[in-house]
């Protein structure tokens, strides 16, 4: 068994003729939390969807747990996905089911476990995210942070070896944000899974991840451990880590000269 759960080499992806990702190299070792960061629209979520198998690479190699993703048919992909969990941006809980039924859903769909055992497993997963007491609530009764924790319990229901997180911190208050960050770290360590976190929350990420890849304009613009990135003098990383308005990523969307547009030129 290879040490790396995810191996990506020279991967490119295009929507039609528009090249979104170019020459991406990325590896994730088992048991690591990896952050994929970058500005909005830079290709982060596309990369996550490629790893999850929702999109197929245009060229290059993408292996998850030793399986080459580009040649998979639907059955093989579904087989692989049973070993993956994914946390969507706003949880994507099934709104017509209770918290309990949401977490039980993958167990009931993929196993023939007796109902008493499903119940025990669901309560264990909910306990791991601190929401055992909320098992009979409906998703509409949960706050944003709680919904995401329930979704996380659902994602770990089948004990996956890989968990993908799409913007897990978006729109959370500081307490929920810290709780979610700690939870990702703790679940990764206790379950021995690999976590890939797509986010632009730099402070929270640098606190809890093992390694960061910056994706900008479709390429890996920078990478390193949190300490390396904090110390980096590279202009893009510096601008991103410190949230500065000006730098390699301009504040202004490309436009003709201001004076010309206001017809001020002599």
């Amino acid at each position: 068994m290879s040490d790396n759960l995810i191996e990506i080499h020279d991967l490119s992806f295009a929507y039609g003729k528009r090249l979104v990702l170019k020459g991406i190299d990325l590896t994730a070792r088992r048991g690591q939390v990896i952050a994929i960061m970058g500005i909005s629209g830079g290709g982060k979520t596309t990369l996550l969807r490629l790893i999850g198998g929702s999109l197929k690479p245009t060229s290059g190699v993408l292996k998850v747990d030793g399986v080459d993703m580009s040649g998979l048919d639907r059955d093989a992909l579904y087989q692989l996905r049973r070993r993956m969990g994914m946390l969507f941006q706003f949880g994507a809980l099934f709104t017509d089911m209770s918290v309990f039924d949401n977490v039980a859903f993958p167990l009931r769909e993929h196993t023939d476990l007796p109902e008493e055992m499903v119940r025990d497993l669901v309560l264990m997963k909910l306990n791991a995210v601190g929401l055992r007491g909320a098992h009979d609530l409906m998703p509409s009764e949960l706050s944003g942070g709680m919904a995401r924790r329930v979704a996380l319990a659902r994602a770990i229901a089948l004990e996956p070896s890989l968990i993908l997180y799409d913007e897990p911190f978006a729109g959370l208050d500081p307490i929920s944000l810290g709780v979610t960050g700690n939870l990702i770290r703790r679940l990764t360590d206790t379950l021995g899974v690999t976590s890939i976190v797509v986010t632009h929350d730099i402070q929270e990420s640098l606190r809890m991840v093992d390694y960061v890849y910056f994706v900008s304009e479709g390429v890996i613009a920078a990478q390193g451990t949190p300490d390396e990135l904090r110390a980096s003098t590279e202009p893009f990383v510096h601008q991103f880590v410190h949230g500065e308005e000006n730098g390699p990523v301009p504040f202004h969307y490309p436009a003709p000269p201001y004076a010309d547009e206001l017809e001020l030129a002599a």
Partner: protein, 263 residues
């Protein structure tokens, strides 16, 4: 010249677009049929949908059926008594309902009550990434969400149409016999003699099955195909009601032409 070319190109693009969409819809429909195995192995999924599409539509179907039958009773009596044949009221009410009004009006009501609900629900499930989440859990949304709704609605439709007709006949009876005073024996016995089980009732049931398939397939496809935005879902819901109403009326003409041409 240029504007002429542009408008021609526009028409061409629209035609290609609609043919493309029709192809996608057909493929989606076939996929739904192919993925139906699970719906029958786990029939409780279908029963849930029979409840939400069928049982929850009962009130509107029953009340409308009663009123349509009562209006038929009034209008029919008015016309029939001119010719002194008001005893034939039972025949008029029952044949109009069983052959036409039952299947057609029940299907129109079903499209606006259950069809729109199916489209909105699936559209919103898509917009809130619930379908994508299911895919990521290695559960096929067509098998788990779409197929049970299809069979639930297809099973409900003929039953609802039959109940509509039954309530309509009751409405006709209430107005014709109880209120106006048409002879009760004539009302029922003429009805019994004139309504043929195969020609009238079975054909009516067949119609409602076809309408049920059409309405549900349209509603499911529109929901599944809706752009994942508030506007997209609202447009898809409207399109479901408009398209399925037109489909019902068009199909009704074709089916009637085949079924009753010898009568």
């Amino acid at each position: 010249m240029n504007s002429l070319l542009d408008s021609l190109r526009g028409i061409g693009a629209r035609v290609i677009d609609s043919i493309w969409r029709m192809g996608v819809a057909t493929r989606f429909f076939l996929m739904t049929l192919l993925q139906s195995g699970q719906s029958f192995r786990r029939f409780h999924l279908v029963i849930r949908e029979i409840y939400s599409a069928g049982v929850l539509s009962l009130i509107i179907i029953l009340v409308s059926g009663l009123f349509v039958g009562m209006v038929l009773g009034l209008q029919g009596y008015e016309t029939l008594q001119t010719y002194g044949s008001e005893e034939a009221l039972g025949v008029l009410v029952s044949l109009s309902l069983v052959r036409e009004l039952g299947p057609v009006v029940a299907a129109l009501l079903f499209a606006s009550r259950a069809g729109s609900a199916i489209t909105a629900e699936i559209g919103l499930m898509k917009a809130t990434e619930q379908l994508a989440a299911m895919e990521m859990m290695a559960v096929d949304p067509v098998a788990r969400v779409v197929a049970p709704r299809f069979w639930g609605a297809v099973i409900s439709m003929p039953i609802l149409a039959a109940l509509f007709s039954a309530m309509g006949i009751l409405g006709g009876y209430l107005v014709g016999v109880v209120l106006i005073g048409v002879d009760e024996g004539a009302f029922w016995s003429q009805m019994q003699a004139a309504v043929d089980f195969r020609e009238d009732i079975l054909n009516g049931v067949l119609k409602s099955v076809v309408f049920g398939v059409a309405v549900t397939a349209i509603a499911l496809f529109e929901g599944y195909d809706a752009p994942p935005t508030a506007e997209g879902v609202s447009r898809a819901t409207t399109r479901t009601v408009v398209t399925s109403s037109l489909a019902i009326l068009g199909l009704d003409f074709i089916l009637t032409a085949f079924m009753f041409r010898g009568v």
